[in-house]
């Protein structure tokens, strides 16, 4: 009896420790709290009514639908959680970079849980120092700049907003290229090799602080705003100077 009691007490004491030590187990509980309403139990995905609502969910918005998470791997979970893209406040909205309320440990646990759902890609390890800036620039203008703009300031596509990349870490850039979040195309290793990705990441890192030889960059949003500045600020200034010079000559 005494022995049985001791074992039970030990088991009770050890259980939370064991749960904390096993991230998959911890992730399972977090999944039930934040993700299950849209992605369904076991990450099977859902196209119908969810079973519950997460912390950010309010009563009226509980008609969540979400894709299956089986086989998306640690790569996708890490990307969506660290950027604050998930949990999504409203179903149907474009995921945006926002405040991350999960702790580092919770993100790791959720990532481990999602990775355990099925075989999927592991976290990428981009090495920008291996890439070359010029190659990265060429690849970026060819593959990315159409939407993200040439110095990665973000832009527009009908129905969606390609985000600026100023806060994207090298790992997040590498992850996004492989996932294609929201309406972004997905680029496989066959299309953009890891080596090419290193160059792209290096260019994105450069584009966060580009070398503005011309002086004021006006947000790097392209030649049309630059033209507007020329016309409405530069020209006004020139006319003002002309008026001042003319007045002085009149007096003389």
């Amino acid at each position: 009896m005494k022995r049985a009691f001791l074992i039970t007490a030990l088991a009770v004491l050890c259980f939370p420790l064991a749960a904390a030590a096993d991230p998959v187990q911890q992730g399972y509980h977090l999944y039930g709290r934040y993700c299950i309403s849209c992605h369904a139990a076991g990450g099977k995905g859902s196209a119908g009514r969810p079973v519950g609502a997460g912390r950010l969910r309010t009563q009226g918005q509980d008609t969540g639908i979400g894709p299956s998470l089986i086989g998306v791997g640690a790569l996708a979970a890490d990307f969506y959680l660290r950027t604050g893209y998930m949990p999504l406040p409203h179903v149907g909205m474009q995921p945006r970079r926002r405040h991350v309320f999960l702790t580092e440990g919770e993100i790791k646990a959720l990532t481990a849980y999602v990775a355990s759902l099925g075989p999927g890609p592991a976290l990428p390890r981009p090495r920008p120092e291996r890439g070359t800036l010029t190659h990265g620039y060429h690849l970026f203008t060819e593959r990315c700049a159409g939407c993200h703009q040439v110095v990665a300031e973000g832009g527009y596509v009908t129905g969606a907003l390609p985000p600026p990349l100023e806060n994207a870490t090298p790992t997040q850039v590498a992850e996004a290229v492989r996932i294609g979040p929201y309406v972004m195309p997905t680029f496989s290793k066959k299309d953009i090799s890891d080596r090419e990705l290193d160059s792209i990441v290096r260019y994105v890192e450069y584009a966060k602080h580009p070398d503005d030889r011309g002086g004021w960059a006006i947000g790097h949003i392209g030649p049309i705003p630059e033209g507007f500045v020329t016309w409405f600020i530069g020209m006004t200034a020139l006319v003002a100077v002309c008026v001042v010079i003319g007045k002085r000559l009149q007096r003389g």
């Binding site: 196209a47 639908i65 979400g66 894709p67 179903v91 149907g92 159409g146 939407c147 832009g155 527009y156 596509v157 009908t158 129905g159 969606a160 996932i179 294609g180 979040p181 929201y182 309406v183 972004m184 195309p185 997905t186 680029f187 496989s188 066959k190 299309d191």
Partner: protein, 330 residues
């Protein structure tokens, strides 16, 4: 023929005949300025200079129309510049050699003097040109030709001269689709949720109809109209990469990760956001484009390579007035 020749000769005789001094009529006054002496040498020079100016202006129009001459821009500049130069020379010759000058020695009075004003008017009237009509005609010719030269570039607002190449495309049945390095695409290279740029093998990549955008759509999402149903191959569809609005390259592909609550797949032009639906034959779903994206029929060769199944279903490129109503030649 004979009548035209007679008319021409009589016209020249009429223009060149010497005018005999006529006795003064009832309303006419004595001339202040003596009538200008005949000056056939300088008159001829002025006329020839004006005609040379006209010829150069016509040369500008001709050079403009013959679009593909070497040093085209330089020739345009040269012809227009020479035309202006000749006309300027003709005006200088006219001013210095053909207009009779008469100086009034007294200073002009400050107050109004109607008689003197009349005199000045008469001086101006009398200091006329000899061969006035011939010179006027030459000036008119030069001016007309120059005006034509200056107005010709208006044709650049839309293709008007060389239309043949708009209807020719490098695509024939069996033409291979290659990437920018010339490597042929295989059907297995084309992955879902990604988009690819392809060119006609052996064609000029800069030419409008050569470039394509290739996408593979998820199974079951293709909803091609009946006449385009055979254009897709294994779920892969090919469209001209040139937007039908202003001719920009379509470089944006909206590829939703989770179809149920995200926008549908779309090809988007970055210039004015014309948006085309790749699933139903390239119809316009948003933006200023006036017509659907031209679609190219595809085949998969036995070795897995992608090949064209024929020519586009529509003319390729931006739509100008009437120019693109005809179908591309096959």
């Amino acid at each position: 023929m004979g009548r035209a020749k007679d008319a021409l000769i009589s016209g020249i005789v009429l223009l060149l005949r010497r005018r005999k001094p006529r006795p003064l009529g009832p309303g006419e006054r004595e001339r202040v300025v003596p009538p200008a002496p005949d000056n056939p040498g300088w008159e001829l020079t002025a006329v020839l200079l004006l005609l040379a100016g006209a010829a150069c202006a016509i040369a500008f129009v001709v050079v403009y129309v013959l679009d593909r001459l070497p040093a085209h821009t330089q020739l345009l500049g040269l012809s227009l510049g020479l035309s202006l130069l000749f006309i300027a020379a003709a005006l200088i010759v006219t001013a210095h050699r053909l207009i009779v000058t008469e100086e009034l020695e007294d200073d002009y009075p400050v107050l109004e003097h109607p008689e003197e004003q009349e005199l000045i008017v008469q001086v101006v009237e009398d200091s006329g040109l000899t061969r006035r009509r011939l010179l006027k005609l030459a000036l008119l010719t030069a001016g007309g030709a120059l005006t034509a030269a200056v107005l010709t570039p208006i044709a650049s607002l839309g293709p008007a001269v060389d239309l043949v190449r708009f209807y020719a495309t490098p695509w024939r049945r069996g033409t291979r689709l290659v990437d920018e390095h010339g490597k042929p695409y295989k059907a297995s290279d084309i992955e879902e949720d990604n988009f690819y740029t392809a060119f006609a093998e052996g064609s000029d990549k800069e030419a409008l109809p050569s470039s394509l955008v290739l996408v593979r759509l998820p199974k079951g999402s293709l909803k091609l109209p009946r006449e385009l149903a055979h254009y897709a191959a294994e779920g892969i569809v090919a469209y001209s990469k040139i937007c039908t609005h202003a001719g920009c390259a379509i470089s944006l592909y909206r590829a939703p990760l989770f179809q149920p609550d995200e926008p549908t797949p779309a090809l988007v032009c970055p210039c004015h956001y014309s948006t085309f639906n790749p699933a139903d034959g390239g119809t316009v779903t948003f933006g200023p484009a006036g017509r659907k994206l031209p679609m190219l029929p595809l085949l998969v060769a036995p070795n897995g390579e992608l090949r064209a199944g024929g020519n586009f279903d529509q003319p390729v490129g931006p739509s100008w007035w009437g120019v693109r109503e005809r179908k591309p030649r096959t």
